[in-house]
Symmetry: C2
Subunit: 440 residues, 2 copies
């Protein structure tokens, strides 16, 4: 048992209230008790105290959409229009390089970057999810690996059926790992058939899994679909029975008010990826409208090839600022709402609010300690919630626990995971950079 004694405690248990002089008791992987520091110290004399003076303890951040392995392609395709980005850079690079080794190595780097910045969970969509899960496990992150499906052959699989089979087999392999979770991840309306979507909707029900899918990322995606199908992709998804509380619509840049109301009514979530939408000039997601309609809005970094960071502090801050700017309402998506969206609401989107996203008794101990008074950029501290939302930074995260295991101490990965990451970093400089250059 460990007794974490921070200066401030932000449970984000459906509220952004800040507690002082409180402590959190961990028992193995779980949060066993939360209460006034003095009482818990007396009540649990056998617990090992962890002094977090000057720090905030809060739930780990949850990145609701990424392609972690694409960390190896960070900076390989910048300042390009979406079409060129995909067709002249990303697809050729993936075609040449994205094998199991690439996915494992890229995901190790991504998981390490995220953990060191306080992101304890990431929701991934990529080929070779078995390697994604293994990499997350080896680094110490919690992962929602995507059973990713695309209706054309890649180095991973040849057709939808095989993507699904391989994904389900990977899921079986990690069934006993409590930090490895799964989603169904059909790629997009324009790359997956109705038949496959229906099959995946059925699997989601049978296996109680979330579905996450790119949707309405660009205007041309919507217009092309109207030309082809006579209806918008969202309506097609409604007809396929996909829009429900299991569903996470990634991007949703071009969603109408009607569609947002439907999402709210059905309990679907919007995964907002503001950096990627700006960088690829996809447009501005209607976040203020979504929040107003009651949609569960959460945040994702997307992959490093279109961001180019996996930094949830930066991404969340941008989501809030952009919502204020586009709505003309400086009070929109306020600090408390933002912190909840990156923790508590993100867990709900993943169907995991009984497990993670809050500091509450019985939940998994996925926790981070954040320094707020040790460097000039952290001062002063007039309002802790707002401080974390608008000037919080990855570099301020000092300690990280995932399922009660301390994985980061004093801003360094703990134990063997540090050696693993060092090894993959050296390999990236030695091997992957050259391989990417060769593809040109």
């Amino acid at each position: 048992m460990q007794l974490l004694i921070p200066q401030w405690l932000l449970c984000l248990n459906h509220s952004a209230e800040v507690l002082e002089n409180h402590a959190v008791l961990l028992n193995e992987n779980l949060i066993l008790a939360i209460g006034p520091r003095n009482e818990l110290v007396k009540q649990y004399p056998q617990a090992e105290p962890v002094d977090l003076t000057g720090q905030v303890l809060m739930p780990g951040l949850i990145n609701c959409h990424t392609h972690a392995a694409m960390n190896l392609l960070r900076g390989a395709a910048d300042d390009l229009a979406l079409h060129d980005w995909l067709q002249t850079r990303i697809w050729p690079l993936e075609g040449a390089l994205a094998d199991a080794e690439f996915v494992y190595d890229g995901t190790v780097l991504a998981a390490a970057e995220m953990l060191l910045g306080g992101t304890t969970t990431f929701n991934d969509m990529y080929f070779f999810p078995e390697q994604v899960a293994q990499a997350a496990l080896d680094v110490g992150s919690r992962v929602f690996a995507g059973i990713t499906v695309i209706e054309f052959p890649t180095r991973y699989a040849s057709e939808a059926k095989q993507y699904i089979e391989l994904g389900l087999a990977a899921r079986d392999k990690f069934i006993l790992e409590p930090t490895v979770h799964w989603t169904l991840a059909p790629h997009a309306p324009y790359t997956v058939s109705d038949e496959t979507f229906k099959h995946m909707a059925m699997l989601a029900e049978e296996m109680d899994l979330p579905i996450h899918c790119h949707l309405h990322e660009t205007e041309s995606e919507v217009n092309d679909a109207i030309s082809r199908d006579g209806i918008r992709p969202f309506e097609r998804f409604e007809n396929l029975g996909l829009i429900n509380e299991r569903f996470m619509a990634v991007h949703g840049v071009h969603l109408s008010e009607r569609e947002l109301r439907t999402m709210a009514a059905k309990g679907a979530s919007l995964v907002h990826c503001p950096s990627s939408n700006l960088k690829l000039a996809s447009g501005f997601a209607p976040v203020a409208g979504a929040l107003k309609a009651g949609v569960n809005v959460v945040v994702g970094t997307d992959g490093a090839a279109s961001n180019n960071k996996l930094d949830m502090w930066d991404e969340g801050r941008l989501a809030s600022l952009l919502c204020k700017g586009t709505s003309g309402d400086a009070t929109a998506f306020n600090a408390g709402e933002l912190l909840l969206s990156m923790t508590c609401h993100a867990a709900k989107a993943l169907g995991a609010d009984h497990l993670i996203g809050r500091i509450a008794i019985g939940l998994q101990a996925d926790l981070i300690a954040v320094a707020v008074g040790e460097a000039p950029h952290q001062l002063p501290n007039h309002n802790l919630t707002s401080k974390l939302a608008y000037s919080g930074a990855s570099r301020d995260v000092t300690h990280v626990w995932v399922a009660g295991v301390q994985v980061v101490q004093s801003q360094q990965l703990v134990g063997k995971r540090s050696e693993l990451v060092g090894e993959i970093m050296r390999k990236t400089q030695r091997v992957w950079q050259t391989r990417v250059e060769k593809v040109g």
Copy 2:
């Protein structure tokens, strides 16, 4: 003499070209030579070599607009509409607290935050510029202190004439300090009279100083001026003879195409402050249009009360992403242009391109070393310019020189300045937080 030997050299001397195996020779405050590493090592055996393996050496970043002392108000006024932000929070807080001590302490924190993040120069607008200059000098930053003028009484001065007199006296006091520079900083069209603007335009000519002024920040500023004066503030400024190569228009959110063409023709600069514009819901500055028209576009963080960071990496990245998003052109404001805007072009805006902003022989040695291969978030390195622009971060800056003096080593302030900053940090937590709370 010091011989800096980085792995990569980015001179940003009107180009974003990356050099390898090059070194830079410093002699006291100046850059004495740039050339192939082996040649310089042979040619200057007496120079002390500084090994920067794995690092990029580049010019220090230049923050073209801030109110540094407002660091003490970071987080004290968030999630508020501009009107409430100013009238219910900022002005009462400044009225109660913004004295010489406040300005010195706040500027020390701000200068330290910026230096540690690789911003070697900041262009300031605030009361008590004497304290601004002294704080910058004590911390080791280069500063452009603003001779700030506002047409109403504050704790600093009672009327325009006195603001100017005090400002000029402060300038005289630091006349022998080579890292202390000055601008004329009339606050805004709605707070300064024609008479005062004319006087300042004359002073600018006489003393060869830049003028920097908030302009067209909000739509209501423009509309109110039309109601009052019959013309837009920009046209008023044209009539007053202010729009020329000395002029920096801060914000410029609501500038027309005609106004942008005039700025380009006259050589005026636009200081874009994207975080502040979004956070206060002021709108989206027409940056793509400005670049297309040929305006010198540079970047500022604004003060910490409306940002809430003084982080030029974040601010520049946001400027570029937002330009892509608003223009619908993912190739706009590309990585190289962005890095130039934060260095070389910023120096031009300040009338100081003969002194700073580039690595060139005879210029001041204002330099930073940035780690690009030491942490997972820094990898890989497919394109250095793009890496720095889109995933560069304050935490990656390891060494900083200002006028040849090393002020940051291994991410720590060097020497006495570290003690000073530590002392002001403790005072901020002990004294300033309480004083701000008391104002309520």
